[in-house]
Amino acid sequence: MTTNDTAVSLSGLTKTYKGVTAVDDLTVDIRAGRVTGLLGRNGAGKTTTLRMLLGLAAPTAGTATILGRPYAELPDAAHRVGVSMDGMGGVPGATVRSELRIWCTVLGLPATRADEVMEITGIADAATRPVKGCSTGMRQRLALAAALLADPEVLVLDEPANGLDPDGIRWLRDTLRSLAGEGRTVLVSSHQLAELEQTVDDVVIMQRTLRYAGTLADLTGHGATRLEDRFFELVDPAATSPAAENLAATAPTTPTPSTAAPAAVRTPERITSRA
């Protein structure tokens, strides 16, 4: 798969819970072989979007495909897509190693693969520690280790930096870049803007609706402005600082909620919103 291929495609994706719209008409393609950040405030609909992408929640409207198919219809999906979702817990009573070995069994992988991913994610020393006794950062590494078990083409990571200490954040950044360097697609949701600015190639910003889809470089004017400033400008135009306004005036046209579609015209890459 090349970077011109679409790894994830969302089309008109909408989710309404008891009359409250969590995600509204989200349309975007995400390119393969890139690290894409799905950014938004808490409650912006990031996790809901990922849950719909993975078939864990049914969209009220629209479709979501991964590697060309809905997750539920994707052949060998468990081996091709690695997932770490916020709130995923461990098997009660399991140690780090036994937890990974359970998933190895489910995936039909040799038990030694558990040891390999523990090495990759730096939790080999905690192999015999009960998952319940692991720190939040250790659990994040364990979740990523589980996601990597089947050596997947696509990684979907929901808030993987939550609870990580500075060392962990640095490790995560290097790991994600390394995974993308191997040709994998990484879709990572987060609200930690400064951190993601150093990690992602492409950015999707949402606040219930799509606010931006394109390259980080285009969004920040190749580093002329900070991601944080552009983010607040997009999700909360009323609170835009004068500095950001000035920068916005020099940057490419920013899609507003109602005009998110023109981003497709503005941005040449395949990570685009689609009308």
Partner: protein, 246 residues
């Protein structure tokens, strides 16, 4: 599917439930056994027989089916409670495959609970009366009771799992099973005995050959149990396929 079932079995054997539920069941059944044999001599003196006491002792082990059902329910609901369900579903390939795998594991677990109960029940029938001053006695009916205990445990495993899939919350599922088995079904049996014999746990009474009146014949009891399991299967499967995974 074989990998999935093996993985679910490994999961079920992780933690303490695989041993503390059978032990809790054995403890309850032993207390009941003690009650029957400690009163055995008095019962024999007032017209009962050692054989009847032995059959009561064998029947006491039917309580293990409640623990088998709880095991099945916990095997499903603790995935929801711990947040493991998301990964379980994603790695299973489909929700219905996971649904099927957990049902298979719960059924096998129920059978193991049944074997455990039948083995300890047999030991109780032969070993418990001695210290209380009367001879152990058993016949073909005792064997049928013990087989009934095994069958009820085997059927209770998937029943618990199906309740787990429908209710999803561990506490609520376990309380549902306990209330249905210990309060609702026996209560309805007193109030409306003709209708209550079609309840699942009352139908199970026929399988372990309870001596209560107004019970169903054995074939009818199996049919009623099958109907309850089938209904729970279709409701559970539909909910698994249509509800969002928490």
């Amino acid at each position: 599917m074989r990998n999935l079932v093996a993985g679910e079995a490994r999961k079920a054997l992780t933690g303490r439930i695989w041993w503390y539920l059978p032990l809790a069941g054995a403890w309850l059944c032993l207390i009941t056994t003690f009650g029957y044999v400690s009163e055995g001599e008095k019962a024999i003196a007032s017209g009962s027989t050692a054989l009847a006491v032995g059959q009561d002792v064998a029947r006491a082990w039917m309580m293990m089916f409640l623990l088998a059902a709880v095991f099945g329910a916990v095997a499903v609901t603790r995935d929801y409670g711990s947040g493991t369900m998301v990964r379980s579903v994603l790695l299973a390939g489909s929700r219905t495959r996971l649904f099927g795998a957990k049902l298979i594991v719960s059924t096998v677990a129920g059978a193991l609970f049944g074997l455990f109960a039948a083995a300890l029940g047999t030991a109780s029938v032969y070993l418990a009366p001695g210290p209380f001053g009367f001879e152990a006695a058993a016949d073909g009916e005792t064997a049928l009771i013990l087989f009934g205990v095994f069958a009820c445990c085997t059927l209770a495993g998937p029943w618990g799992a199906l309740v787990g899939w429908i209710v999803r919350n561990q506490t609520a599922a376990v309380v549902t099973l306990l209330v249905l088995t210990l309060l609702v079904d026996p209560g309805l049996q007193r109030i409306v005995p003709d209708a209550s014999k079609y309840l699942l746990t009352i139908a199970m009474s026929s399988v372990y050959r309870d001596v209560k009146p107004d019970l169903l014949s054995l074939p009818m009891a199996y049919a009623v149990i099958a109907a309850w399991l089938a209904a729970a299967f279709f409701v559970g499967r539909r909910l698994v396929r249509t509800r969002d995974i928490a």
